[in-house]
Structures are given as structure tokens and as C-alpha cells.
Amino acid sequence: MDARKLVKMANDIARFFEAEPDRAAAVAGVAGHLQRFWEPRMRKALLAHVEATGGADLRPLTLDAVQALRG
């Protein structure tokens, strides 16, 4: 999967949840959305992008959510 596109999609999700004043709830919101709506190969590709680049171009909230997914 195209990592550039996945990064944009994940950041778009984060931009919605950034309105949430409770940071933990925002992280859980993004992570939960990725878990419930993204097909596993998409999540795997995003995780691989984080592994490879340290999370290049990801918004801080997105990166925190991905880290939460890695558990």
C-alpha cells in the first residue's frame, strides 16, 4: 500500500480527533478508528512506515495512536 496515501489518511483521522480536549481520549479515538475501519494490510503498512522512518510526516496524535496500536 502507498505509504504516502496512508499517512495522509491517518493524519486526516487525527485532525478530527485533535478537537478532543482529553488527549488520552483523542489517542484512543484515532487508534480505535484505525482498528475498526482499516483493513489489516493497511495498518501493517502504516506500522511499517513508522518502523522505517520513525513516523515521518505523521502528526503527533497520529504517531501516538500508531504507537498505541503496536501496544
Binding site: 489518511m9 486526516d12 485532525r15 483493513e39
Partner: protein, 946 residues
């Protein structure tokens, strides 16, 4: 006028308890107050002669044929305009009345051609019938002036206007005004010179929208369907449901054998109450069009000629390819797409095939690219992925907000209903970048038109909510009783922030702050405020956010849970609601239950005898990305044309070309089929049984009126494919599929064909508490318990204008065409819309040297196409607009892969573009035409015209 006769009580029914008892010719009958004497008589079994009255129109009292005598009253009142009174005694047959009626009829017939034997209406003419009823035996008035030489108007593709046969009863004029709301017809002249006219021009060039209401209302052969002229009177009727938009109109298919003579809207239809539009009423000829492909075909490569094969060979080949690809690339390298044009039963079966026989959740539906944000947004806030009302609810609305929808074009029958309410005095707020017809029309004018810039919906909805909260207009009592308190308090603080004020948002939205404040006050202050919205809400990068913003607005004003209010998504295609209900989304099983829920999976595991996967599958855009990436290799597409309808056409084409097996099931060799390896011929809505679910959650029956042209209904083909994959499904009839749906889906509890036949239709949720359905949802509590306010920050789209791309393109639909046009382009509807055009404001056109009708190039960051310009002030400066009904126009060559953050619904409504004069087709169009020629050449001999 109904060929195979239905009762016509002369005037419309009145609501309320039957409390008024009258006696008609000695028969007592009790009716609601306000009922006409004519209707009461009819209900008592007494037919009063009539010509200008019909029960779809309010009484007019012009023909003087329905005169009666009423005890204690002087004269001979018209029974159609006289209402009942307690104890009234009416006589409908007396020597004096007979004399009067014969006199009236004699005058009518003296100016009417006596060609009954060769007349189209012979055997079904109210004038002919009433002449017999009143006992007319002679016409003394001969040799005077008549209208019998008046010329016919045959300009409309679907009906003839023969003024020689007109009795000027005004039923057509009243139907156009009262039912349709177009006011295209009028009575010109006075006295003997009175004639019906579509505005002193031919019908085709008039304001007429060809809804057919006038034709249906005509009591003679003055307005007659050309199909009736061609085929003669039908001999039987089958009730079914229109296969076009999400209104879901009920129709009477009037037939001779299996020949459709005409489609007539059903007065008993819960969604349409006897009204129709040009598509459902007339544009059904595609079903028997010569372009239909009725034999299965296969080929190894998309550049090979198609081979005609038997169903068994095609199915066996498709199944072998699916299994080969799964063996090579893995179980999840395959998937399927269900169609909103197909029935509930068919979409249910396709998702079952994918989940149970393919063994993956890679199934999605075309709602992905239209209303998927509705499903997400309404579930998050209200708890159910559906609109809250029935269409009739609009009758109680005091203020209607139409957001990003163009009902007069895309949902015409609901638009007529809405306009009736607006003419009664309800206020209208339109939020749309374009001046849609509702903004200003005959006897309808919006109180506010918030003509926002494309992409700023959320800024506008937040500004409206900000005004309501900060000006103390919130219905705090409702919120406290019905919504989550902490979420509301958080939202209230969020929305009260000055950054959401109309004044702060004005620079983004382009909407004057005063207009936003006025609109907010109007919506919040009326007893009943209702919101209706369309794809102008959902097809944005913030589509889901906007849906949640709409729900917030309805909750904070207490506009939920009763008639006249609500959040009402106007669904694009006929079965968008149903295809979503049936578990077509990759993350949800039927009934919107997530695949990760073990209890839900266990239910389906047991019923289907398989193990349903617990992870969500790929959505349509993800399938395309995975195909380009090489991890997705086979796709079964039933009834959709993703190559035309989905955004960034060239990316879609690359994805389809990457597939090793594309199975397309369709009526025609559509754009997607040009990339297919297996073609399974589809069945039209006339060729199968099933159900569609419309925008108001109404489950309507689709009934077969002719055998499938290709020998199999679509559900049978899916079953055959499943069997070939080693997963036989045992159904003899679609009713058994519905029985299974009802067993497995709590909101469909008890739904069956027998029940639908008995009640006509059902609005889900159907359950033990509401076995006959639920017209209004969330009455005492929300489906999720308490309503949840969501934080809806405005995030501008990444699709920005620049010096290179200074204009914003937004796309939409037009009345006479439907979606990708595969159906309507194969009808005479092309008389109104033979090509897609680019609407551009005069200022933008002048700056670029573009005249109306000029050929222009439309270029975005992803592609360019060429089409003709239509210079109009309907669109605001800086914005251009086009439709996507014709594949060669390439509207989606230009649209991008930007999408809604939550659902990946494409952002069709915002694309930065440049427009410039052009002299030749684009490079894409040259390739498109070459490919079209190549693919048509690969069809079996004799099919090259498809």
C-alpha cells in the same frame, strides 16, 4: 387515468376520525369532517358522474356534471365542492339532475371528435364513460365552431398533446400546479376560446418537466403516453418499485402479456402517493434496449475477443479464477462490490458470498462513494445509520433546511411534496454553492440562501450552532432529557468559542454573517425544523464531520423524535439505504453490526456454517490502491460502474488493469466491463422479485413482470457462483432470502414478503415493539440511548486553489439523467441532456474568453478533459460545476482521491481546476474513444453497437 381501473373517489381523503354521518340515495355513510359529498357517495358505493374531479386533486367545481340535490338546500350544488354536514340527505339521481347532466354532456360532446373506435383512450375514456352514464343520446349542436381541427403537439418524447380532444377541465393544469409544483401549464383565453397551453410553446421547449402528472390526470385522450398509442390498452397490472432514485416511488406496471405498456405511479405508494418524475414514469425503455447483453462471456485478457459461453461455463471459469488467485496470492486478494441498484436480497447475497464463500470481509458498496459518511455520522450521534423520518413528516415542518441537495433534480417526487409544504407557508433555508431551483421558483422562495464556498460546510454548520448556543436559542430541556450531559457541556464550550462565530467564519465560507445569524434564528425558533441533505454534505473530506454537525444542530434545537423535524439524508440511488442495511460495508455485518463483535459473528457463523473473519475488509478505494500495489487481484462487481462513477478515473483504470480476474455483472457492457474477464448478464428491475429500501427506511416490494432476458435473475447468478466455489446456498425464491435476513437482523424482525404484500411497505426498524415498522425514529429515546454531541472542528480541505488551479469544481446530477447514465442514456431522456456541460459564471467565462457553448478544457492536478461550457449565473464566481452522466465527458478524470477522513467517501464536491478554451478532445478522451472502439470490436459479432 388508470388503464386497469382503480377506484377514484373524486376528491382527496380527509384526515381525522369519521364522525359525520350523511345519507346518500338512502345509504348511510360516516366520514371525517371536510369530506366532499362526492367522496362520501363513492365510499357509500354511489358513483356521482364527474369529469373535472379526481381524488388526486382538490375539487375545482367546473364541469357541472356532479350536481346533486340536498334536502333543505336550494339549487343543485356540485358534490365535489360541497362538504358533508351531519344528517345531510343527498340525492344523486333525479329526473332534473339527469336533464341537467345530459345538457352539460351534450355541450362537451358538441366540441369533441367522435372517433372513439380509433381513439387511444377507447375503453378507458372518462368522457366516453360519462356520456354513457348520463344517457346522452343526441347532440343537437351541430355545425358551429369547434376545436376539433387543433394540431397535435408531439414534441415531448413520451406523450402526445392533442388539444382537439381537450374538454378544458383543468385537471392537467391543477396537477402541474398542485402536485408537481412546476406551473408549466395554463388555460389561455376565456369562454369558448379557452385552451390548455404549456406557455405558448411546444411541450418540449416549455417549463414542463415531464413528470407525467398531467397525463395521468387527463380524463380523455388529450394527453396520452406514446407507449399507449403504440401498444393499446394494457390488460393487467403488477405493482412494483421504481429502480431510480432513493425516493422509492411505487408504480403500477401496466402490461399486455410481458410487454410494459406504461408505468403509472401508485396512489397507494407510501413514498410518492401517486406522483412520479420523468425517470420513473417514462424512462424504463432501457430494460429492453438493444444494447442489453444477455449471454455470459469470458476472455483471458482484456484485449482478447469475448467468447460467448453458457452460464455453467462462465460460472465455473469465474470460480476457478477466484480459487486460483486465492491459492496464489492469499485469501484476501479477492473481494466484491454490491450495488445500490440491486435488491436487498441481491446485496445480502453478494456480501454473504464474499464473507462465506470467498472467506474475506473485502466487500463494499457504492454507498462508499455517496452516503457512507451518513452511516458513520448518524451512528455516532444518534445511534442508527439512517434518516429519522418518513417523507410525509415534511407536512408538519415549519422550517426546512436543505443542505447540499438538489431535490428538484435528484429527488423530484420528494421535491414536489416539499414544495407543497412551502406553498402552505413553511420557511426554507438553502445551503448550497449553486442557485438550485428551490432557491427561487414558482410560489417558492428561500428565506435564506447561504451560498457557501465548496468545502466550507462544517464552518457554516458550526456557525449556525454557535449562534443558537450563544444567543440562548438552545432547547436545554430537550438536551438535558435526551442527550449525554458531559458530551453536551464539552460541545457547548467548544461551539461557543468565538472562532466559530459567523463573523469569524465569513472569510472562509463567503456567507455574510448576518445571513447565518438570521437562518440560525429561524431554524431554532420555529416549532418544527427539519433538515434534508444530500451528497453536497457527504462527498467532502469532512463529510462525516458535517453529518455529525447536522445531528448536533438538530439535537440542540430539540428537532428530533416527532413529525415535522429530523435529520433526513436524501439517498442517491434506489437502494442505497438497503445496500448499507444488508451488511455491504467491509466492517459491518447486516444491521450495522461490527465484524469484531464475537457474539454477532457467532450468529452468522452458525447460520452460514462458516467462520466469519473478525477484521474489517478493504473499502472500494482501498481495493483500488491494493490492486495497484499488487496485493488485490480479483473482484466481483454486481451492478456498479466504478470506472465511470469513482474519482480519479485514471487511477481506477490502473487498478482494474492490475486485476487478474474482474467479474462484472451488469445489463450493459459498461465502462468497468471493458476491463473485465468474465461478464455475467444482469437482470433489470422488471425481471426479478425482491425489495428496495428507500431514504425513509421504507422496504418496498419489487415484483417480476417479465422473465430475465438472460435466463437468470441476479440472485440466481450469485447463488450459482457460490455453489461453484463449494458453498451452495439453498434458495428457491428471494422471499426465502428475506426470511433469512429477518432472522439474522434485529431491525428486520418479522419482515416477510407476505407481510409486505399485506401492508404495502414497512419502515424499519421492525421489532417486537413496532412489528409494523417505525415511521419516526428516536421518539422517546435515541437508538444509542442518549444522543451524543460530537466535536466538529472545521478543517479546510487540502484541495486548495492556486494560481495554476484558481477555480473550484463541484459535481452533481440533473433531473433527466441518473448516475452514470447507463439506464437513462438509453432512453429518450437524452432529448433534454445529451451531454455533460461545464457551468461557469459569466465573470469567469469572460476573463477566459469563453462563450456559452464553447469547447473548454477542464484541468485539475490529476487530469484533464474537454467539454462544452454553459455560462450561467446559477454558479457563483470562482466555482464551476458539471455532471458525470456521460462517460466521455470525463468528469471523474478530473476529481481527485481526496476523501472523507472517516469513511474514504471521495471528495467529489471540491476539486481545484483551471478552465481554458480548447479546440480538440483531451488526451484522455482520445484514449477513451480508442479503448471504446477496441472493446466494442471485441464483442461477439452482431453486438458491436453495444
Amino acid at each position: 387515468m388508470y388503464s386497469v381501473k382503480e377506484p377514484d373517489h373524486g376528491t382527496p381523503a380527509r384526515q381525522g376520525e369519521a364522525t359525520v354521518t350523511v345519507t346518500i340515495d338512502g345509504h348511510a355513510v360516516t366520514v371525517p369532517p371536510g369530506t366532499s359529498v362526492m367522496r362520501a357517495a363513492s365510499l357509500a358505493g354511489v358513483q356521482v358522474p364527474k369529469l373535472c374531479a379526481t381524488d388526486t386533486l382538490e375539487a375545482f367545481g367546473s364541469c357541472r356534471l356532479c350536481l346533486v340535490e340536498i334536502e333543505g338546500r336550494r339549487g343543485y350544488p356540485a358534490s365535489c365542492t360541497t362538504t358533508v354536514a351531519p344528517g345531510m340527505k343527498v340525492r344523486t339521481q333525479t329526473p332534473k339532475l339527469a336533464q341537467l347532466r345530459r345538457g352539460v354532456m351534450e355541450l362537451y360532446i358538441s366540441d369533441h371528435p367522435l372517433d372513439c373506435l380509433t381513439c387511444t383512450a377507447n375503453g378507458n375514456c372518462e368522457l366516453q364513460e360519462q356520456a354513457g352514464v348520463v344517457g346522452l343520446r343526441e347532440v343537437r349542436y351541430q355545425g358551429g365552431a369547434t376545436h376539433t381541427d387543433a394540431a397535435k403537439d408531439t414534441s415531448n418524447p413520451y406523450f402526445v398533446f392533442d388539444p382537439a380532444k381537450c374538454i378544458v377541465c383543468s385537471r392537467c393544469v391543477r396537477a402541474c400546479e398542485d402536485l408537481q409544483g412546476t406551473f408549466a401549464l395554463t388555460v389561455l383565453g376565456r369562454g369558448f376560446d379557452s385552451v390548455i397551453s404549456p406557455g405558448k410553446t411546444a411541450f418540449l421547449s416549455s417549463e414542463c418537466v415531464s413528470c407525467g402528472a398531467c397525463v395521468q390526470a387527463c380524463p380523455t385522450a388529450t394527453l396520452t403516453e406514446k407507449s399507449l398509442v403504440a401498444h393499446g390498452q394494457p390488460d393487467h397490472v403488477v405493482k412494483t418499485t421504481c429502480a431510480y432514485c432513493g425516493v422509492g416511488c411505487s408504480f403500477r406496471a401496466e402490461l399486455k402479456g410481458d410487454q410494459v405498456v406504461r408505468m403509472v405511479p401508485d396512489k397507494d405508494g407510501g413514498a410518492n402517493h401517486g406522483h412520479s418524475c420523468v425517470k420513473g414514469r417514462f424512462a424504463w425503455g432501457y430494460a429492453t434496449h438493444a444494447d442489453r447483453i444477455t449471454t455470459p462471456m469470458i476472455r483471458r485478457s482484456i484485449h482478447d475477443p469475448w467468447q460467448v459461453v453458457t452460464w455453467d461455463e462462465a460460472i465455473a471459469h469465474a470460480a476457478a479464477e477466484i480459487r486460483r488467485i486465492q491459492a496464489t496470492y492469499g485469501r484476501d486478494a479477492v473481494g466484491g462490490i454490491t450495488s445500490s441498484r440491486c435488491t436487498n436480497e441481491e446485496t445480502y447475497l453478494v456480501q454473504k458470498l464474499v464473507r462465506a464463500a470467498f472467506g474475506t470481509n473485502n466487500v463494499d458498496t457504492c454507498a462508499r462513494v455517496c452516503h457512507s459518511p451518513t452511516g458513520y455520522g448518524l451512528k455516532q450521534t444518534l445511534g442508527e445509520s439512517a434518516g429519522t423520518q418518513d417523507f410525509d413528516s415534511v407536512d408538519d415542518a415549519d422550517c426546512v433546511v436543505v443542505i447540499g441537495a438538489n431535490p428538484t433534480d435528484a429527488h423530484p417526487v420528494f421535491a414536489s411534496h416539499l414544495k407543497q409544504r412551502l406553498r402552505q407557508g413553511a420557511k426554507l433555508i438553502v445551503i448550497d454553492p449553486r442557485v438550485i431551483d428551490l432557491v427561487r421558483g414558482p410560489h417558492v422562495e428561500a428565506a435564506y440562501h447561504l451560498q457557501l464556498r465548496p468545502g466550507t460546510n462544517v464552518a457554516v454548520i458550526n456557525a449556525l450552532a454557535h449562534v443558537i448556543v450563544t444567543e440562548g436559542l438552545a432547547k436545554e430541556d430537550f438536551v438535558r432529557a435526551r442527550c449525554e450531559g458531559p458530551a453536551y457541556e464539552t460541545w457547548k464550550a467548544f461551539i461557543s468559542d468565538p472562532r466559530h462565530a459567523p463573523e469569524a467564519m465569513e472569510a472562509h465560507t463567503g456567507v455574510p454573517a448576518a445571513a447565518i445569524r438570521g437562518a440560525a434564528r429561524l431554524y431554532a425558533s420555529v416549532p418544527n425544523g427539519a433538515i434534508y441533505y444530500g451528497l453536497g454534505v457527504t462527498e467532502h473530506s469532512q463529510g462525516s464531520t458535517m453529518v455529525m454537525g447536522i445531528a448536533n444542530l438538530a439535537m440542540v434545537t430539540g428537532n428530533l423524535g416527532r413529525r415535522g423535524v429530523g435529520v433526513n439524508p436524501l439517498r442517491g440511488q434506489n437502494n442505497v439505504q438497503g445496500s448499507c442495511d444488508m451488511g455491504s460495508f467491509p466492517h459491518e455485518l447486516p444491521g450495522y453490526r461490527h465484524v469484531s463483535d464475537p457474539a454477532v459473528r457467532a450468529l452468522f457463523d452458525a447460520a452460514w456454517g462458516v467462520t466469519v473473519q473478525p477484521e474489517p475488509g478493504l473499502r472500494i478505494p482501498n481495493m483500488f490502491d491494493a490492486a495497484v500495489d499488487g496485493s488485490f487481484k480479483a473482484l466481483y462487481v454486481q451492478g456498479e460502474d466504478v470506472a465511470q462513477s469513482d474519482p480519479d478515473t485514471q487511477h481506477v483504470a490502473r487498478a482494474l488493469e492490475s486485476l487478474e480476474c474482474l467479474i462484472v455483472q451488469d445489463l450493459f457492457l459498461n465502462e468497468t466491463a471493458k476491463y473485465a474477464h468474465v461478464f455475467l448478464p444482469g437482470a433489470s428491475f422488471l425481471e426479478k422479485d425482491g425489495t428496495f429500501t428507500n431514504a425513509e427506511r421504507r422496504i418496498n416490494r419489487v415484483r417480476k413482470v417479465m422473465e430475465p432476458k438472460a435466463g437468470k435473475a441476479d440472485w440466481e447468478a450469485t447463488c450459482a457462483l457460490a455453489a461453484a466455489l463449494g458453498y451452495p446456498m439453498h434458495y428457491d425464491h428471494p422471499s426465502q432470502i428475506m426470511d433469512e435476513i429477518a432472522r439474522l437482523t434485529p431491525t428486520f424482525t418479522g419482515v416477510s414478503y407476505a407481510k409486505l404484500d399485506r401492508l404495502g411497505s414497512l419502515q424499519w426498524p421492525c421489532n417486537d415493539a413496532a412489528p409494523d415498522g417505525t415511521p419516526t425514529m428516536h421518539v422517546d429515546r435515541f437508538v444509542r440511548g442518549q444522543g451524543r454531541f460530537m466535536l466538529t472542528e472545521y478543517v479546510p480541505t487540502d484541495e486548495r486553489t492556486t494560481r495554476k488551479f484558481p477555480l473550484l469544481l463541484t459535481t452533481g446530477r440533473i433531473l433527466t439523467q441518473y448516475n452514470v447514465g447507463a439506464q437513462t442514456r438509453r432512453t429518450d431522456n437524452v432529448a433534454w441532456h445529451a451531454e455533460d456541460r461545464l457551468e461557469i459564471h459569466p465573470a469567469d467565462a469572460e476573463l477566459r474568453g469563453i462563450a456559452d457553448g464553447a469547447t473548454v478544457e477542464l484541468e485539475s492536478r490529476v487530469g484533464k478533459t474537454v467539454l462544452r461550457a454553459h455560462v450561467t449565473e446559477r454558479i457563483q464566481p470562482g466555482v464551476v460545476y458539471t455532471t458525470f452522466h456521460h462517460p466521455g465527458s470525463g468528469a471523474n478524470v478530473v476529481t481527485t482521491d481526496n476523501s472523507d477522513w472517516a469513511t474514504n467517501c471521495p471528495e467529489y464536491k471540491v476539486t481545484a481546476v483551471q478552465v481554458r478554451p480548447a479546440t480538440q478532445p483531451s488526451e484522455w478522451q482520445a484514449r477513451f474513444h480508442a479503448q471504446a472502439a477496441e472493446q466494442l470490436g471485441l464483442l461477439p459479432r452482431g453486438r458491436e453497437e453495444a
